[in-house]
Symmetry: C2
Subunit: 208 residues, 2 copies
């Protein structure tokens, strides 16, 4: 763990600020957690931090496709922190059932450690927002998840199948993810269906 600089600023609660700085320094590690999918130009794998940034941007751009009344600021807040647990738990490839089994437990342990670096009130609210995202019980969480699932589909389509081809992902496996998109946004779900049909025509998806 990187310790914040041992300096005292006047008029600031030192302990509280130090906790916040420790969290900010710790989360720098998200920039080194690599995902399976590539950048859109195919040059290298994407990392979790830049992925989270792109989702925060996309949530705003696609806001009109969220159900009426969805709080987009809250969606953005969720997306900014949704992958922080992967600093400890690593990126879980969504098409690998073996990994997915232990994912929840590993991510919970990570949340226990990392969010707790923050001052208690912030640790609690941040953890709650992450739990909300994971549970998909609110319109905000479902829309955030839809954006999270759509982004790698765009990247895969634009890299001639990308991880679908490399890992022999089947159409029925992708259809599961499309369902999650449709649950968060009818319009984006409809787009994802059309994109997957096109990907299949192009031979990017395995039979099954």
């Amino acid at each position: 763990m990187t310790e914040p600089a041992p300096v005292f600023a006047s008029g600031v609660d030192h302990e509280r600020l130090t906790s916040q700085l420790r969290f900010i320094l710790e989360t720098d590690k998200l920039k080194r957690i690599l995902r399976r999918n590539m950048l859109v130009d195919g040059s290298r794998r994407e990392n979790d931090a830049e992925h989270s940034w792109h989702l925060a941007l996309a949530a705003r751009v696609f806001a009109e496709y969220a159900p009426a009344g969805t709080d987009i600021d809250r969606v953005v807040e969720m997306l900014v922190l949704h992958d922080i647990v992967e600093i400890d738990a690593g990126d879980t490839f969504i098409y690998d059932p073996g990994q997915a089994d232990s994912q929840s437990e590993r991510e919970r342990a990570a949340a226990d450690r990392i969010f707790a670096l923050l001052p208690e009130d912030q640790a609690r609210s941040t953890r709650a927002l992450w739990e909300e995202f994971e549970a998909r019980g609110t319109a905000e969480a479902r829309f955030a998840k839809a954006i999270d699932r759509l982004a790698p589909m765009l990247a895969n389509w634009h890299t001639e199948g990308g991880t679908w081809v490399r890992h022999g992902v089947t159409r029925s496996q992708v259809a599961e993810k499309v369902k999650i998109i449709a649950e968060g946004s009818e319009a984006l779900g409809s787009y994802a269906v059309a994109l997957i049909e096109d990907a299949e025509r192009r031979g990017y998806l395995a039979v099954g």
Copy 2:
């Protein structure tokens, strides 16, 4: 420019969605724009996309240090898009006066091209938010700029002086940036002063 997949989704305005997808695909390039500063572990240079993510997170964590009434959702929105112009204009090293001269013009041209990829209403509001950030005329813009200036100071301190040492940056040059932090947040300005004093004691800053 990467063109979105030529697919039609039912019940969606195709032209509008295609513009939005074009913007999302184009902004993927921000992941390849490198900044001068390193990651906190010193392993490599930071890119603009992951930098923007970390600022969006930091703005939320440090929200209590913004002046009362500051709209943090708006600050986050600004930070998510503040560097997009660098896709065309490149990262400008803030301690290089030669680059800084032409920066404004280059960034304006980039904004003209990139934000205009969006549907007209979104192009207009996104451009306006970026202009607001640049002008620093609101509490939101000043706080966003403070976060943007503080982050590389943290990275520099934690990499034994980082870009300060590598480029012979002087204490008086850094003091200018500290002033911008103090204008956005009294508490973070106070912390930045203490951090710079400590950096000077450690010999991370050149005399001048």
